[in-house]
């Protein structure tokens, strides 16, 4: 459930965050950055132009980050959330509710309100059940109102965790035979479900041919697995580059101007990148050029 970001005269355009989300000081917002994430930083997460939440980075990998979910400024929380002073005001963060989040959701770095050492001490205090180096939020009542607040927080962050990009592209990527075996589907079962001969079924199992979207749908119905679970989708170099927060603003602009969702804008960039001349510079430079070209096409057409 997203908060109401339209109060207090704030403006939003479809598919793009153009002014400070609710509770974030406009001066701080204007100074936001989108460099690579580091432990202890406060980030705004967003998808498809919608602010999703604030969080403190607790760990970094090439494709995802681990985060301590945080409140919006002014939002209440109860222990064991910890109280943190930031450039956008006092927040609460939950070291006990750490979660993984794809780097594609990292929108803006707002502050570095806590040191890595302090975060390590907080974890030690939790492990050893000793006094926290950072104050806890107040202890709250165990009533229905708090139940509802906690459930809303947990559900929101579960959705954020499960926001995956890229989702496998049907028709252009191979089946995942492990997923089929996990639900006890054999080559003969695939032949029967898809009404194809065993040679074609073997080719699908071996990744020598790719299933069509209709075939994936049929296997999804038969197996109970989601379509994206039936497809293998290795992380390619263009995906790694597009996970960079530095590109998110340009991707949002492309989506906004073309009136398409962020995942469609990202797919468009990947498609254009695949068509780009392979001899021009390195892969990262080609990807950045592709994004800049699509973005400048918009500027030229205005």
């Amino acid at each position: 459930m997203l908060m109401d970001f339209d109060r207090d005269g704030e403006e939003r355009m479809m598919n793009r965050i153009v002014s400070a989300p609710f509770g974030i000081d406009s001066t701080v917002w204007s100074q936001r950055e989108s460099s690579s994430p580091e432990v202890g930083e406060l980030w705004l997460l967003a998808w498809n132009g919608e602010p999703l939440g604030l969080a403190i980075v607790s760990g970094v990998t090439p494709t995802f980050v681990l985060l301590w979910p945080a409140t919006w400024p002014g939002e209440s929380a109860f222990a064991p959330a910890i109280s943190i002073d930031t450039s956008i005001g006092g927040l609460f963060a939950w070291p006990t509710r750490e979660t993984g989040v794809g780097r594609h959701l990292l929108h803006s770095r707002l502050d570095q309100p806590v040191s890595e050492r302090t975060m390590a001490l907080v974890l030690e205090s939790l492990d050893n059940d000793t006094e926290s180096p950072v104050p806890y939020a107040q202890t709250g009542p165990d009533n229905q109102e708090r139940f509802a607040q906690e459930d809303a927080m947990l559900d929101r962050w579960e959705q954020i965790c499960l926001n995956v990009w890229p989702k496998p592209a049907l028709g252009t990527e191979p089946l995942n035979p492990d997923a089929l075996r996990a639900v006890s589907l054999k080559v003969s079962d695939v032949s029967r479900i898809l009404n194809i001969d065993s040679a074609d079924s073997v080719a699908l199992f071996r990744g020598e041919s790719f299933p069509t979207s209709e075939q994936v749908s049929a296997l999804s119905v038969a197996s109970g697995l989601e379509p994206y679970e039936l497809i293998s989708s290795p992380v390619s170099e263009d995906v790694l580059f597009l996970l960079s927060p530095e590109l998110k603003g340009s991707i949002e602009r492309i989506g906004e101007a073309r009136n398409i969702d962020e995942d469609v804008a990202r797919a468009l960039i990947r498609s254009e990148y695949a068509l780009a001349a392979r001899s021009d510079g390195n892969a990262r430079a080609r990807l950045f050029d592709t994004v800049q070209r699509l973005a400048s096409d918009l500027d030229d057409s205005r």
């Binding site: 432990v39 202890g40 607790s58 760990g59 970094v60 990998t61 494709t63 995802f64 681990l66 222990a79 064991p80 939950w94 006990t96 509710r97 750490e98 979660t99 993984g100 890595e116 050492r117 975060m119 390590a120 001490l121 974890l123 939790l126 059940d129 165990d142 906690e150 459930d151 947990l154 559900d155 962050w157 579960e158 959705q159 965790c161 499960l162 995956v164 995942n176 492990d178 997923a179 075996r181 996990a182 006890s184 109970g224 697995l225 989601e226 994206y228 679970e229 039936l230 989708s233 992380v235």
Partner: protein
Amino acid sequence: MPGKVAELGDLYNVAPEATLERDAKTTFRRMVCVAERPQDVYVWTAMARTTSAPDETIDLPSSEQTEFGLTAPGWWSYRFIRSVKKRWTGDPSLCAYLATLPEPMKSQVLAHYRGRPKPGR
């Protein structure tokens, strides 16, 4: 009711409702307790097991163990660590206790979680 309180290494069959009502995945998930969180009234921390979307450079391979409901080879992944609601833990229809992982599997899984990227001193 066994497994009403999640302890380290306990394996659960977690319904979407125990973590999120609008979960993108409609089937149950196998999740293992990696942090009991005695300070948090509402949740414990679970690490998920995937059979279909591993990052083989960092995820921990996990062999098939049908006696625990692990019906296919997979990987333990801290990409999808998240919170499970305590009040539904052990409920057969929402968050059924399956088993406590035996050694050395339990130690390997917990070591994998503890080896995740995290703040250092």
